[in-house]
């Protein structure tokens, strides 16, 4: 059984009298443990697809099953639960709380599922150590470099042990060297058994994945497996 399965997925925005189809009939399967890149130019609908997969949004038409559960009919609370337990987001702009320490930022998802304070802090510290920020736990985002901030975001995505790590242009705000660092981190997480989906418009980033889905005009235009020797990172 696929971890992610969509069938005839549509997302339509109504702009005045016009209808804008951001996604048109997307059908795809992603299995547990896959490392997938969703590629496409801006405006192609890749962010819309990511929002749907991440349960931040619901489809206008079509079905989406996550671990066999239909998402389309879920209410707000159920979607919040999925986002909390099944999805780990990594955003282009990091999206950390600026006034909170790295540790508190990583603890945040645990707060909303009622994890007791002691366990919360233990898990968050462990996640930060995983991204090699064990010595920066009490720094605020403004006291960290871009790469470190993104690593905090990765730790936050990991902390609840989600089904999928969903990274939306994770290197978009980083220089090439730091980008490489973050991608290597994602590679490592994949090797440890995590399912990873990266949305990007950069071929060099997409080449870290094992499978590349190309999106164009809201439709899947290509689905290719990257042979091992063509991949970036893992050798």
């Amino acid at each position: 059984m696929s971890m992610i399965r969509t069938e005839d997925l549509w997302r339509t925005y109504v702009m005045g009298s016009e209808q804008l189809h951001a996604l048109r009939s997307v059908t795809l399967n992603i299995d547990k443990g896959e490392y997938v890149a969703i590629m496409g130019p801006s405006g192609s609908g890749k962010s819309t697809l990511m929002n749907l997969i991440g349960c931040l949004d619901t489809p206008t038409k079509g079905e989406y099953w996550l671990n066999g559960k239909g998402v389309r009919t879920m209410n707000d609370n159920e979607l919040a639960n999925i986002r909390n337990r099944e999805i780990g987001f990594v955003f282009q702009t990091f999206n950390l709380l600026p006034r909170a320490s790295a540790l508190h930022n990583v603890e945040l998802p645990l707060i909303y599922n009622g994890t007791p304070a002691a366990e919360r802090s233990k898990k968050a510290k462990l996640a930060l150590e995983k991204v090699e920020l064990g010595d920066r736990m009490y720094h605020k985002p403004s006291e960290l470099s871009g790469g470190q901030r993104q690593r905090v975001a990765v730790a936050r995505a990991l902390v609840n042990d989600p089904s999928i790590i969903l990274a939306d242009e994770p290197t978009g705000n980083l220089d090439s060297k730091t980008s490489e660092e973050i991608m290597k981190l994602l590679d490592t997480l994949h090797r440890q058994g995590n399912t990873i989906i990266v949305v990007t418009h950069e071929a060099s980033v997409a080449r870290h994945a094992h499978r590349v889905l190309s999106i164009l005009d809201g439709q899947i235009a290509g689905d290719e497996t990257i042979p091992e020797h063509e991949r970036n990172g893992v050798h």
Binding site: N51, G54, L56, D57, D76, N77, A80, N81, R83, N84, R85, F89, F91, N95, L96, L97, R99, L108, P109, I111, Y112, N113, G114, T115, P116, A117, R156, N160
Partner: protein, 408 residues
């Protein structure tokens, strides 16, 4: 529970981080609660002072007179035509009332009082029996009240209020001095303890002489008649005693069975009730006016919370994207509003009480903090936080996570 306390901490953190904003909201609430508390405490203090004054009568005591209250002009005009209670009638009650423990007849006259070259106009001269001091809780500062013998022999002795003492005898011993009441000489035998002011009027410009002496000098009190202050044997027997006095007076005044009493009977409680009725509208309007400032405080809270929600749109988006439910966001912002208004309310309660205390001290009253006022203050300020905080909090809770995340 873990979620609850964690979210509460998040709210506190946000309040501390936005000191200026929190401070302004705080101020709005403090002003509102302070004004309401000042008014409520001052009113309660006044009420208590009046009650205390009336309770000098004691709970088993009542008063009888031709006319004590009139709630309308018509009632006043009707009652003014009544026959006064005469000295004979007062004596009839004294002779016939079995349940009465103590009976003190009294009569009043405004008179000019002189001591040497000093003169006081419009002093209330009261003729009262010697047991008056036992029935009414009046304290003797100096000397003594007149004795039954003074009453029996119509002695010309006077027990004076503190204002009279202050005017005539400041710095000297008043006892044994001779004053003139409407030309007749009286010897000062005692001074009452200072009673202070009520509604801006001194309670100390009086002078008491024996009842028999009063009648001897001023004659039968024609207009107002005799006032009777009667003490029943116990509080339980108050009603019965009043009934007995009523029957005696009705028969002496020849009131037919079908007619109502042509005199008034009142207990201290009756007087208090009446006073409350008179001042109700006044009190309500004062509270109403001060409540407006509370509403303004509430609007300040709402305004600031709206700004706060807009400013933190992105934060809300982040929280929602990692699994915060609508109710978690709602709670977070409601906590903020309630913590602000509740702490503001606490400060307001204390400030209001202190201001009320200073105000009432001006009219010789001392007020105590009342549990009702404190609880009301806390409930009101929490309520304001909830009422005016709920709309901004709901707005925050319902934000679309995608839009909130891309908010700049």
């Amino acid at each position: 529970m873990a979620i609850f306390t964690s979210i509460f901490r998040i709210s506190l953190g946000a309040l501390v981080a936005n000191k200026l904003r929190s401070g302004l909201t705080f101020l709005g609430i403090i002003i509102g609660v302070t004004s309401v508390m000042t008014i409520v405490s001052a009113l309660e203090g006044m009420q208590a002072a009046i009650r205390e004054d009336l309770e000098t009568l004691g709970p088993s005591t009542f008063m009888v007179a031709k006319m004590m209250t009139a709630m309308s002009e018509q009632e006043f005009l009707d009652k003014i035509k009544r026959k006064p209670i005469t000295v004979d009638m007062a004596e009839a009650v004294e002779e016939n009332c079995v349940l009465c423990d103590k009976i003190s007849p009294r009569a009043f006259e405004d008179a000019t009082v002189k001591y040497g070259s000093e003169k006081l106009n419009n002093i209330t001269v009261m003729g009262g029996s010697s047991n008056f001091i036992d029935i009414v809780d009046m304290d003797v500062a100096q000397g003594q009240f007149h004795s039954p013998e003074d009453d029996l022999y119509k002695r010309k002795v006077a027990f004076v209020g503190d204002l009279v003492r202050e005017t005539f005898f400041e710095g000297t011993d008043p006892l044994g001095k001779t004053i003139k009441i409407e030309g007749d000489k009286y010897m000062v035998i005692g001074v009452a303890k200072r009673r202070g002011q009520m509604f801006g009027e001194s309670q100390d410009n009086f002078l008491i002489i024996p009842f028999s002496t009063f009648i001897g000098q001023f004659g039968e009190p024609r207009r107002q008649g005799v006032f009777l202050t009667i003490k029943a044997a116990s509080v339980e027997q108050l009603e019965e005693t009043m009934d007995e006095v009523r029957v005696i007076l009705r028969s002496y005044r020849k009131v037919p069975y079908s007619e109502p009493d042509d005199f008034d009977l009142m207990t201290a409680d009756n007087v208090l009730d009446l006073l409350n009725q008179f001042t109700r509208l006044f009190r309500l309007s004062l509270i109403g006016i001060s409540a407006i400032s509370l509403v303004i405080g509430g609007i300040v809270v709402m305004n600031i919370m709206m700004v706060s929600v807009t400013e933190r749109t992105r934060e809300i988006g982040i929280r929602k994207s990692i699994g915060a439910k609508q109710r978690h966001i709602l709670m977070q912002f409601l906590f903020e509003a309630v913590v602000l208004t509740l702490t503001g309310g606490l400060v307001g309660i204390v400030a209001g009480f202190l201001i009320a205390r200073v105000l009432t001290a001006q009219i010789d009253m001392s007020i105590q903090p009342s549990a009702v006022a404190i609880i009301a203050g806390l409930v009101i300020s929490t309520g304001i936080g909830l009422i005016f905080g709920v709309y901004p909090a709901m707005k925050a809770a319902r934000l679309d996570p995608i839009k909130a995340l891309s908010y700049e």
